[in-house]
């Protein structure tokens, strides 16, 4: 998988490293700057691919392997492209009882992605999460920062289709 990413990235012509370099420059002489740098670079580029990790390593005078160790340790860092819309389906107990499994299935029916995967058009990523703390609204999902609760399966499908039709 990692290799696939690399190929698509290098096929995507030149990568603009300016944003990455600026972030690194800000933290250059800090000790323990790796995590904030990674967070901000991920924010700017969407995910952490091998070229950008190499670049960060060069800028921070570190080894890319060490940085990759940090990236894979934390759940907050991604080495695969992520969709424009992150669909978080709550799979906590309350939502499970209220049929959140069916909602995950609908995501799969609509976009052909399973937990952790991203649709081919880079529009949607499905994440099944443990509990988002809104059990009163079970079953509940989040799409980016927007919350949708008390969902019936077909309502959920409609919401997904609405997002799919959004431009850009």
């Amino acid at each position: 998988m990692a290799n696939d990413v690399k190929e698509t990235e290098s096929a995507n012509k030149e990568i603009d490293f300016t944003a990455c370099d600026e972030i690194c420059e800000k933290y250059k002489d800090w000790k323990g700057a790796t995590i904030p740098v990674l967070q901000q670079v991920q924010e700017a580029y969407g995910y952490l691919f091998s070229e950008i990790v190499e670049r960060i390593a060069d800028n921070l005078n570190m080894s890319a392997h060490q940085i990759y160790g940090v990236i894979t340790f934390y759940a907050q860092f991604y080495t695969q492209p992520r969709g424009k819309y992150i669909i978080r389906v709550c799979r906590g107990t309350a939502c499970h009882v209220q049929g959140s499994g069916r909602i995950s299935e609908i995501v799969n029916e609509e976009f052909h992605i399973r937990n952790g995967e991203t649709s081919a058009d880079l529009k949607f990523t499905l994440e099944e999460v443990s509990c988002i703390g809104a059990c009163g609204m079970a079953p509940v999902i989040m799409i980016n920062n927007k919350t949708y609760g008390n969902l019936k399966p077909e309502e959920a499908r409609k919401i997904f289709r609405d997002y799919a039709e959004l431009q850009g």
Binding site: A2, V5, K6, S50, H65, Y68, G69, T72
Partner: protein, 753 residues
């Protein structure tokens, strides 16, 4: 000092001593798996848990410092159960393929399993089953056998400072691996293999070739570069199976480099010659050793009678032992009667500091040498100083080297720009005020400053001299190249300038040349004159291989490598260390050759090491009363005189700067006969930067024509993003490149695709 009780025995140890060390002091051994005294405490395996009286929690002996009055118990029923469980847990995922595992017989996990008495694993065994990684040419990685002790990751980080591997993922998914599962690419030093307690990281050169209990072992000294690392040679019969670290002895703390660890195969090479050869009428004939010596002596006598002793020259290789070099010099001076003794080394620059002084230094400057490639263990000492001691490290080199990660200041640029920067730096040390004043101030204000430089580059040496004159406390480390570069000079083989030999050859002054182990054709300083060798009355060459020079000889005698003889080498610190014979390949040593020729000439020279050593102690003042097992020679000076100031700028015309590349896999021409090294680096490759490669439309492996004043050649390219724009680098010491650098270590060249 604090007092602690270990198993009832009281010991006094310094504050902050770890329980493990205190126990050692008390003569108590605690089993360990993840601990290595050279690395920072880690505490990953829980095998070393001990009981502390009055504390209900068990303590890890390898991470817990002692406190005053602490009472420790290392043996109890509870501890036996705990240790046994720790091992059992490790064995859940560890495949029990010991019969086919290379580590079998010397595996810490195997020994611990035996020691704590695990006979049955109570848990469901789920051995890992992932493919073995062979992306590294020298290191096999079998991740299934890994117990995650982290020693490899830690040594690569704390000692080598390359961080080529890291812990990936988290929790039960943790593995040791590389960024984005890229092929494992590193310095190939193999330090990780040396600390792996299980069969997870294996030496691919030794893989599946033998079992450890079949091997005999001698302690010796590596015969490749000038660091003088103590190594163990493991052999069976007449074959060397591996060369292994020995952390207990010597000056290298058990660290080794790629060529030292993996480059020994030339010793076993089937390409080695076993019979002497004599050429008559252009045809080579195999003869016995005695016949070859007789022919050589006859010719030598004839030349001496007709043309005089001054028409005889002796060339000595820095690969020879002290004893052999002494005999060769003695043969020349006392038996033949000539002062024409040549080598690539000179007595102009002698050692000035020990590796320990470099490690303990509080400010290091590295002048224009890629020290981690040229002298890897010296490179580790520099890294140690820069990282552990936080010594401000300043490096001057045309391109970034592995020291970049630890250097406080790394000056790169074209060789001429680097030269200018170094001149300014030396000026600043001498008191001038310029942009390097602050950096120079760190050196002058340090208590134990060290300067590492390349003694073969006169312009660099002149700068090092200037620095040491301005700041007397600076310790100088001339990074000599070969295993006995220092020793042969001490034995009297470095009195003459190497260029005198090529001049004499070209002028037809020499009629007979005796070459002891040197490959004249591959040395930059001689390569142009090497064609004159074949016209000589007598060209005697001794070499383990039919080298380019040996092929021209009319008398060729195959000789032993460093693993096949006794003797001693003097390393770049000036430390004399004894080497020991491991195997016998049925060839004579250079000492035997010198002694036999002397006998033929009517004089007696002993070939026996003890006899030669007593002669050396009598005749070489520096070595009188020397300890042959690690004694350091006290040299009267570092610089014999003022080094003639050269400007050191690149000569010739061309668009590119071409400078010498240091190779971690080769030091000279010897290691090229090791097939596994040659597979990774066999013939010279031109290193070029990314931008230049793009401009010229080059991809890795494309051939380019390199030409400049007095040379041209075709080489494949390797694109290296570290190489500065406008610069390219080629290794010396190959016949294909030796001619380029005959006038200096940096020249101008043009490159055409």
């Amino acid at each position: 000092m604090v007092t602690v009780k270990i198993n009832g025995k009281e010991v006094q140890v310094p504050k902050n001593t770890l329980i493990l060390e205190a126990a050692k002091e008390a003569g108590v051994s605690i089993p360990t798996l993840c601990h290595d005294s050279r690395l920072n405490p880690f505490g990953a395996c829980r095998v070393c848990l001990v009981e502390q009286v009055g504390n209900p929690k068990l303590q890890a002996a390898c991470t817990t410092p002692v406190t005053d009055g602490m009472e420790i118990i290392t043996q109890s029923d509870k501890l036996s159960r705990v240790r046994k469980t720790a091992i059992e847990l490790l064995l859940i995922n560890h495949p029990l393929d010991c019969p086919v595992c290379d580590k079998g017989g010397e595996c810490t996990l195997q020994d611990l399993t035996y020691e704590v008495g695990v006979t049955k694993v109570r848990f469901d065994a789920k051995p890992n089953d992932t493919p073995v990684d062979h992306t590294n040419p020298f290191i096999e990685r079998d991740i299934d056998r890994c117990v995650l002790c982290g020693r490899c990751v830690r040594i690569c980080d704390e000692v080598v400072n390359i961080q080529a591997i890291s812990f990936l993922n988290r929790g039960t998914d943790t593995i040791i691996g590389t960024s984005f599962e890229q092929p494992w690419n590193c310095e190939y030093c193999g330090q990780c293999i040396s600390v792996c307690p299980v069969g997870s990281l294996n030496n691919r050169i030794y893989l599946f070739k033998n079992r450890p209990w079949n091997l005999d072992r001698v302690q010796s000294v590596c015969g490749l570069c000038s660091c003088g690392c103590t190594v163990d040679i493991d052999y069976e019969g007449s074959e060397v199976f591996r060369i292994k670290e020995n952390p207990e002895e010597g000056i290298n703390h058990g660290y080794m480099c790629a060529k030292g660890r993996f480059g020994f195969e030339f010793i076993n090479s089937i390409q080695r010659e076993t019979a002497a050869q004599v050429k008559a009428g252009g045809e080579a004939k195999k003869v016995s050793f005695d016949e070859a010596v007789t022919v050589a002596v006859e010719k030598l006598k004839k030349v001496k009678e007709t043309a005089g002793a001054d028409s005889v020259a002796v060339v000595v290789s820095p690969r020879l032992t002290n004893e052999e070099a002494f005999l060769a010099a003695k043969l020349a001076k006392d038996v033949i009667g000539t002062q024409n003794i040549f080598s690539t080394e000179t007595s102009e620059i002698l050692p000035g500091a020990t590796l320990e002084e470099v490690e303990q230094s509080d400010c290091v400057a590295v002048l224009n040498i890629d020290v981690t490639e040229a002298n890897p263990i010296l490179g580790l000492a520099v890294r140690h100083a820069a990282r552990m001691g936080e010594a401000p490290l300043a490096v001057f080199y045309p391109s970034f080297t592995a020291l970049k990660r630890v250097a406080k200041k790394f000056v790169t640029g074209t060789p001429d720009a680097v030269r200018e920067a170094m001149v300014k730096y030396a000026d600043a040390v001498a008191g001038a005020s310029n942009e390097y004043s602050e950096l120079a101030g760190k050196l002058t204000s340090a208590e134990r400053p060290v300067v590492v430089f390349d003694p073969y580059n006169k312009a660099d040496a002149a700068l090092a001299q200037k620095i040491s004159k301005a700041c007397a406390k600076v310790k100088l480390v001339p990074a000599k190249s070969k295993n006995n570069s220092v020793g042969i000079v001490d034995m009297g083989c470095g009195a003459k300038c190497p260029t005198e030999f090529s001049k004499g050859l070209e002028a037809g002054k020499f009629k007979a040349v005796l070459v002891f182990g040197e490959n004249v054709s591959a040395r930059s300083v001689w390569t142009k004159a090497a064609s004159k060798l074949s016209g000589l009355e007598l060209l005697l060459v001794t070499d383990p291989f039919m080298s380019e020079t040996a092929a021209q000889a009319n008398v060729y005698i195959p000789v032993a490598t460093f693993a096949e003889k006794d003797g001693s080498f003097t390393n770049l610190e000036g430390r004399v260390q004894t080497i020991a014979k491991a195997v016998d390949k049925g060839v004579n040593t250079d000492a035997c050759v010198a002694s036999a020729i002397a006998k033929g000439m009517g004089s007696a020279l002993p070939a026996d090491v003890t006899a030669v050593r007593s002669m050396i102690e009598k005749e070489v003042a520096l070595y009188s009363g020397i300890d042959w097992n690690g004694g350091t020679v006290s040299y009267p000076y570092v610089f014999a005189g003022d080094i003639a100031a050269e400007d050191g700028m690149a000569k010739g015309k061309g668009k590119f700067f071409l400078y010498t590349a240091s190779l971690r896999l080769h030091s000279g021409s010897f290691t090229r006969w090791s097939p596994d090294l040659a597979k990774v680096y066999g013939s010279p490759v031109l290193e070029i930067g990314e931008e230049d490669a793009k401009e010229l439309g080059l991809a890795n492996g494309d051939k380019v024509k390199v030409s400049g004043e007095g040379f041209s050649g075709e080489y494949p390219v390797e694109i290296d993003k570290k190489v500065t724009k406008g610069c390219v680098a080629l290794p010396e010491d190959f016949t294909a490149t030796a001619g380029i650098f005959c006038n200096g270590k940096c020249v101008k060249a043009d490159i055409v695709k």
